[in-house]
Symmetry: C2
Subunit: 446 residues, 2 copies
């Protein structure tokens, strides 16, 4: 693999080459910039990118003595443009914040930078990460199709080999669903395990920083940097043993979103189940108790009620510059009462320990990531398959590997109970190998 063009490398692969001295961060950055130069006029992943500044940062990283280099030394990371960066504008895809440049690093950016990451640029987002109207970003696999939203640019940038890792956020399905649409890994950790300080607030109880990559190894590297440590049982001192599919038990669940599913997603789900079984795992088809059906509605109430508070500052000062759907939150277009807002919070909270108990009986829970492949046009797509897991605060990973309509990629989600992020990634490593090898879709970027 040493003759791979640098832009094709995963983060872990690039790191290995930096360590061995085969590759400098500068040469790596040049390769990524050339890739972006060639492709971004079609993909439109980037809201802000300053090639000279990127190269300047790369040179600084190259100058760090090898023994002082961080665990992400030189790895390029794209940042969704609702997350503040001290050295780049943060514009939220909103005319209110056009050219806005608060010199502030979000907590997650500070951690990445401290670990040596090369913060590459800002990726396109739906306005404030809070609408179904997508930014100009297109799906790299077929530019008539959406990359999904709201983390559109971050997903497309990783899928199109502009950067190996990027940051998204999820309030509904904004990290996980674009992962499926773009054929990449997407990881929404347990809520409140990664600091969301310095990311624009939509819903405090739902918003979660998420990660994109093209390998589980990269997600595991990020989990280490962000200290996503599971509780250890006494037997697990140190670490859980390598996860093996043979003999493992999975649940396959359809959820209340099932009536919205299309045939590509049904086919992927069935194939995923068959592949797990073919590799020695048990897969139980399970219906969640009907009380979980309410989550779709509870999520809607919570998101709208929080949006009413979160966008009031922009509404009172610059209503005419907001998309109608954002103004609609503040105007309470769905007519939810405060009593309903409290009830939604309480009922979602009551379901969390129940799901944890269910999920803890399995290695992981398998479910469709999205209802279909990426839709045509500039829509974020249906997020019904994601909101249950966002509301329940559980970690979710989209695993790519399946082929849907028009040859577009499609993924499946694996879910664990809260605070089992490390465990979930171990499971995903084994499952991802199988799905990527045998699911029927291959990442063949030109």
């Amino acid at each position: 693999m040493t003759d791979l063009e640098p832009f094709r490398l995963t983060g872990s692969e690039a790191l290995a080459r930096f360590r061995s001295g085969e590759l400098t961060v500068t040469a790596y950055a040049q390769s990524l910039l050339a890739r972006i130069d060639k492709r971004d006029s079609a993909v439109h992943a980037w809201a802000y990118l300053d090639p000279d500044y990127v190269l300047e940062q790369a040179a600084k990283l190259d100058a760090i003595p090898s023994e002082e280099r961080g665990p992400l030394h030189g790895v390029a990371v794209g940042v969704k443009d609702i997350i503040y960066t001290k050295d780049m504008p943060t514009q939220h895809n909103s005319p209110i914040y056009e050219g806005d440049f608060p010199a502030l690093d979000a907590g997650c950016v500070r951690i990445l930078r401290n670990a040596g990451a090369l913060i590459f640029g800002k990726t396109h987002t739906a306005q404030f990460g809070a609408t179904s109207v997508c930014p100009p970003t297109r799906n790299p696999h077929n530019q008539k199709h959406s990359p999904g939203g709201s983390s559109s640019g971050s997903a497309a940038a990783v899928a199109d080999l502009h950067v190996p890792i990027s940051l998204g956020t999820q309030t509904g399905g904004s990290t996980i669903r674009p992962g499926s649409y773009n054929g990449i890994y997407a990881f929404k950790p347990t809520w409140n395990t990664v600091s969301r300080d310095g990311a624009k607030v939509f819903s405090l109880i739902l918003d979660t920083i998420g990660f994109y990559s093209r390998s589980v190894a990269d997600l595991q590297l990020l989990a280490t940097v962000f200290q996503l440590e599971d509780d250890k049982t006494p037997e697990e001192e140190g670490e859980e043993p390598d996860f093996r599919l043979t003999g493992a038990k999975f649940a396959a669940v359809k959820t209340a979103a099932w009536p919205t599913i299309c045939k590509s997603s049904i086919a992927a789900f069935e194939k995923g189940i068959a592949l797990l079984r073919a590799h020695g795992a048990t897969v139980e088809l399970v219906d969640l108790p009907t009380e979980f059906d309410s989550v779709l509605k509870l999520h809607d109430i919570e998101m709208y009620s929080s949006g009413r508070v979160s966008f009031l500052p922009e509404y009172v000062s610059a209503r005419e510059k907001l998309l109608p759907s954002i103004a609609g939150f503040v105007e309470n277009s769905n007519k939810y009462t405060k009593r309903e807002a409290a009830m939604a919070l309480d009922e979602m909270a009551a379901l969390r320990p129940k799901f944890d108990r269910f999920a803890s009986k399995y290695a992981a829970v398998l479910t469709p990531t999205a209802s279909d492949v990426a839709p045509e046009g500039a829509t974020g797509g249906n997020y019904a398959f994601s909101v249950t897991w966002t509301s329940l605060h559980v970690p979710v990973v989209n695993i790519p590997g399946f082929k849907g309509g028009e040859g577009l990629p499609i993924g499946l989600s694996l879910i664990a109970s809260r605070y089992r992020d490390e465990h979930l990634l171990r499971v995903c490593r084994a499952v991802g190998e199988v799905f990527e090898a045998e699911g029927g879709w291959t990442r063949n970027m030109p």
Copy 2:
């Protein structure tokens, strides 16, 4: 009252004078600045204050035609220095952020500014609003004593007549308790009714923006600006009628914090109950069900578990510049597991609707705000009496009016169920009149 020195005016009083043309914002700002100049070398309320810039902003406000003026036109507001302001540094009382100046307005500051408020300066805070080590601020009533923490400067600035209104934050008892120690009104609204975007995160589920003032009318003005609207029952179309003490029913509760109470607070509590009864209200002495006793512990688990995540960015990049207690969060000095973190969130959530049902039977719930008057030295003081209400997300107001040991002020809290902020303020207006007139303490600032 027209001959009152301007710095003594409440926000509502100043507004009336701006409207009538009796007072300009410039003359008002000059009066406040002179007051601060005379007093702040002893009180140390301000972390950042630029008199020239204040006067420049005041002149701009005076230049606005009267028909275009906002509902807070010219009212001076102090901002706790963990809340971002686009035109002033935000330093979190941390050497890591010394001189840091991200050009960003927190959501609450944007709303205040849009309403015409004169953002006056940044007030001293405990480091990140997250330690019991106070900033240099002293209690204006006796400078050997603490102003309370962590919103120390905001509370002292309002008590010492530097500004009529200021912003605090509360994660444990950081808004409410300094209200009692300084003899002013303090209002922690229902969680997630005021945008906390742009305030440093400590705990997402606990952090709440709060307000200080010297009158309930000012709090009601703020409630209007922040659109803290209760659900209206069909009978209440428009507005609930004026609240009258006669015939109203209150609960008086002691909570699990009671073993920490001292005699000043017991005396204030007893006097408050007697005053309500003397004015025709019924007061029932009620013990909350014992399940609420667990909140002290649940709050501790949640705050420490969230602190572990929230301060990781500073810890990994500048551990040596953190107070040991902040580093202790990240190092999980209390050894809480992730399982306990999830359990604490779930159990706090389960208690919220139970308390709402209890509180909705009363006009409001009366309880001590703090265990005692302001302690000597640079400690924030005991927050055990506040954490229940922070955890339950309910609105709380500290009402001043009582006198404790060494003649220091002491207050009582009134509490309502979630999303009854407007109702609670109406009750507080009536109760505050009585407590301030007959409680035994008078605000006699030199």
